[in-house]
């Protein structure tokens, strides 16, 4: 600062000059700040678009799957040689042969074991499962002929989706020239095409990509979150109400408050270890169960819900409490009739944030065994199951090309879940919001 500007202005004109001299600098600073802000937002939006773009471009193809149309003859000689329609025999019969026979019928010229093996591998090994289901459900089908769609093998699926190059040398692709020829024939007969992938939504996990679905993980996530919500919402809101409205302010409550804040920052895998030691080793609850997962996630979400609920309760104007107390409402009535309803939007936001975090949590669930390979779709909270983020983690680790798109597909399902939850939060908020 030079000597003239450090002198305090004496007259109004001098003051005006001084103000004018600084104006340009002040506006420049403001413009600079705005530019920083716009840059930061652009940067963030670009990343989000990139993320969603890659996930969707990779995952959308998981919604379609190659299906093969076969004319199947339910040959009584093969599936029911004894002829007594015994359900146990029908369960374990050789349906694979039926699929193979139908493929042989379509390509009668193919001969020799290696060539036939190549032909058979166009259909998924899961194709026979569909046949088995149909026959056990309706044994009258035996001896009849039927035309139906079954899953094609995942290499065929990849080929139809253009992920196996026709021009690559034969020994470098997973389909032989003969197989490609057969695929072309089937396609021209409209007996092989990409259809909506129902298996992805109706099946549990599988080692075969074409059979693997998210149903098991979705149901597992749902059951786990249900337990989490049922436990953490009432406990969290109850704790917040007690601490905020009833507890005396003393050293003990200060200590509890500090600890709750610290718990919110504890890495989630630590809670997983705690869950393993407490719920599984000590209480003997089953491994990999949504019940245990829900208990662990409850521990993780509780601090978030308590902190958010306390903030929401604190934001309710004291005048409302005084109004209720002033006409003789008890403290409990004051809280239940007035304070809690007004705090509800904030409480719900906290709960949804906590639940969203729980939905995306995978590390602690690995510790309690929800990482196991589970084919069956869980039917209860004690059945072994996995959850969506863990399913993503599992699939991302597998070498088959088919699992790459399924990984992204599972991420899309996970994101849809989150969007639905957030939409629910917005709806609930606006429902509870009261204008002053």
């Amino acid at each position: 600062m030079n000597s003239t500007s450090s002198r305090r202005p004496q007259t109004a004109a001098e003051t005006q000059d001084r103000v004018r001299a600084g104006l340009a600098r002040r506006y420049r600073a403001e413009r600079r700040f705005r530019a920083y802000g716009i840059a930061a937002i652009t940067f963030g939006v670009a990343f989000v678009i990139f993320l969603f773009g890659t996930v969707f471009s990779q995952g959308v193809s998981a919604l379609r799957q190659a299906y093969l149309q076969i004319d199947v003859f339910y040959d009584p000689e093969i599936i029911d040689p004894a002829g007594n329609r015994d359900p146990d025999d029908l369960m374990v019969a050789d349906y694979q042969s039926l699929v193979r026979a139908s493929l042989r019928e379509r390509f009668p010229t193919v001969e020799g074991r290696p060539a036939l093996r190549e032909l058979y591998s166009i259909a998924s090994s899961a194709a026979s499962v569909g046949l088995q289901r149909r026959v056990t459900a309706d044994p009258d089908l035996i001896g009849q002929r039927e035309r139906l769609w079954v899953l094609a093998d995942d290499t065929v699926d990849m080929f139809l989706k253009g992920k196996v190059s026709r021009s690559a040398p034969e020994e470098e692709r997973r389909l032989s020239d003969a197989q490609i020829g057969q695929i072309d024939v089937l396609e021209s007969q409209k007996a092989l095409k990409l259809r909506f992938n129902t298996a992805f939504f109706s099946n549990g996990d599988s080692r075969d990509p074409e059979q693997a679905g998210v149903r098991g993980a979705v149901v597992g996530s749902f059951l786990t979150l249900l337990i989490t919500l049922l436990l953490s919402f009432p406990i969290g809101v109850g704790a917040a109400v007690y601490l905020e409205e009833f507890a005396p302010r003393n050293r003990m409550t200060d200590l509890i408050e500090v600890n709750i804040n610290n718990l919110a920052a504890v890495p989630s895998i630590v809670f997983g270890l705690l869950g393993l030691a407490m719920f599984i080793s000590f209480f003997g609850l089953p491994r990999s169960a949504p019940l245990v997962g829900g208990l662990v996630l409850t521990l993780i979400t509780l601090p978030t819900i308590i902190i958010a609920s306390r903030a929401a309760l604190k934001a309710v104007p004291p005048s409302i409490r005084e109004a209720a107390l002033g006409i003789g409402a008890s403290r409990w009535q004051t809280v239940v009739h007035h304070v809690l309803p007004l705090a509800m939007p904030g409480v719900l936001t906290g709960a949804i944030i906590g639940m969203a975090r729980a939905l995306g949590e995978s590390a602690p669930l690995l510790m309690i065994g929800m990482v196991a390979f589970i084919v069956e779709v869980p039917t209860g909270v004690l059945d072994p199951s996995t959850v969506l983020p863990v399913q993503v983690f599992l699939w991302s680790d597998l070498p088959e090309r088919g699992f790459v798109e399924r990984t992204s597909g599972a991420i899309i399902v996970l994101l849809l879940f989150l969007i639905v939850m957030n939409a629910a939060a917005v709806v609930l908020r606006s429902k509870f919001e009261k204008r002053w």
Partner: protein
């Protein structure tokens, strides 16, 4: 009406000038002290509140008049650091006695606050809330009756009768304050405490509230804290002047404003400070 109960004696050390006692008081406060942590906010206050009278409490900001008012329905209980000592007798029963339930006390001693604070519910629900939690109405018809009467007595009925299900917060400031008064009288209190009820209102709304106070005086004892000396002069029969936690002077309003005995009172009402 309870039997005539003489005013309890006052300790000889009282420094308050004027007539602290009344005949057959509703409230008889003796040697009331309030501490906020280390701060001694109310010092050895003795005062009676008579039936069917309006007692105005005046004094400069921070003199403790609101604090004292809040002692009368134990509203200070909600402030963690506040400690109230001394005896406050409501019809001969100490309100700090273990036998006195605080919920019952507050139903009997209603309060109207500085800023209108209707519940963010309908006008009807605002008035009906008190009777409902205390179980005063047997059925919907009785509840309607209570709401109707309370709103009429608060002079609000004509303005809101067609929109009882509108939110209470949609009313103007003055209407909101009358709604709060209706809400208070809906539970049939003996005493109504008013903590600067007009400080957030315009002069017309203020005039309506003052008229209302005058009408309500016939049925209720009213204690009003006010910063406006004109208001105290207009609505009250007795006036108490507080200064820095001391009750300096109590007397008939006319006497206090025309012929104050204490130097501090005189300085305040003549506008030398405050």
């Amino acid at each position: 009406m309870p039997e005539n109960r003489p005013s309890p004696p006052i300790a000889g050390s009282s420094r308050t000038i004027g007539s602290v006692t009344t005949d057959n008081p509703v409230f008889a406060c003796r040697d009331v002290n309030v501490h906020y942590g280390d701060k001694h906010a109310i010092k050895h206050v003795d005062i009676d509140v008579g039936r069917s009278e309006v007692l105005a409490m005046i004094g400069p900001s921070g003199c403790g008049k609101s604090t004292f008012l809040r002692c009368l329905n134990r509203m200070n209980d909600t402030i963690e650091s506040a400690r109230v000592t001394g005896s406050i007798m409501l019809d001969g029963q100490d309100i700090h006695d273990r036998k006195q339930d605080v919920v019952q006390l507050r139903a009997r001693v209603g309060m109207v606050f500085q800023k209108p604070n209707p519940f963010p519910k309908s006008i009807y629900e605002n008035v009906a809330y008190g009777p409902r939690i205390h179980g005063l109405a047997a059925d919907r018809g009785e509840l309607d009756e209570i709401v109707n009467t309370s709103l009429r007595r608060a002079g609000l009925w004509e303005e809101v009768k067609d929109r009882l299900n509108h939110p209470g917060t949609s009313l103007s400031g003055g209407q909101q304050q009358r709604l709060c008064i209706a809400r208070t009288i809906a539970v049939n209190p003996d005493v109504i405490l008013m903590d600067e009820p007009c400080s957030a209102l315009d002069p017309i709304a203020t005039a309506r509230i003052e008229d209302l106070i005058d009408e309500l005086r016939e049925s209720y004892a009213i204690c009003i804290v006010t910063h406006s000396m004109q208001q105290a002069a207009r609505v009250s029969q007795r006036t108490a002047y507080f200064h820095l936690g001391d009750l300096i002077e109590v007397g008939e309003t006319k006497k206090i404003f025309t012929n104050p005995q204490a130097k501090l009172t005189e300085d305040y009402i003549t506008g030398r400070f405050g």
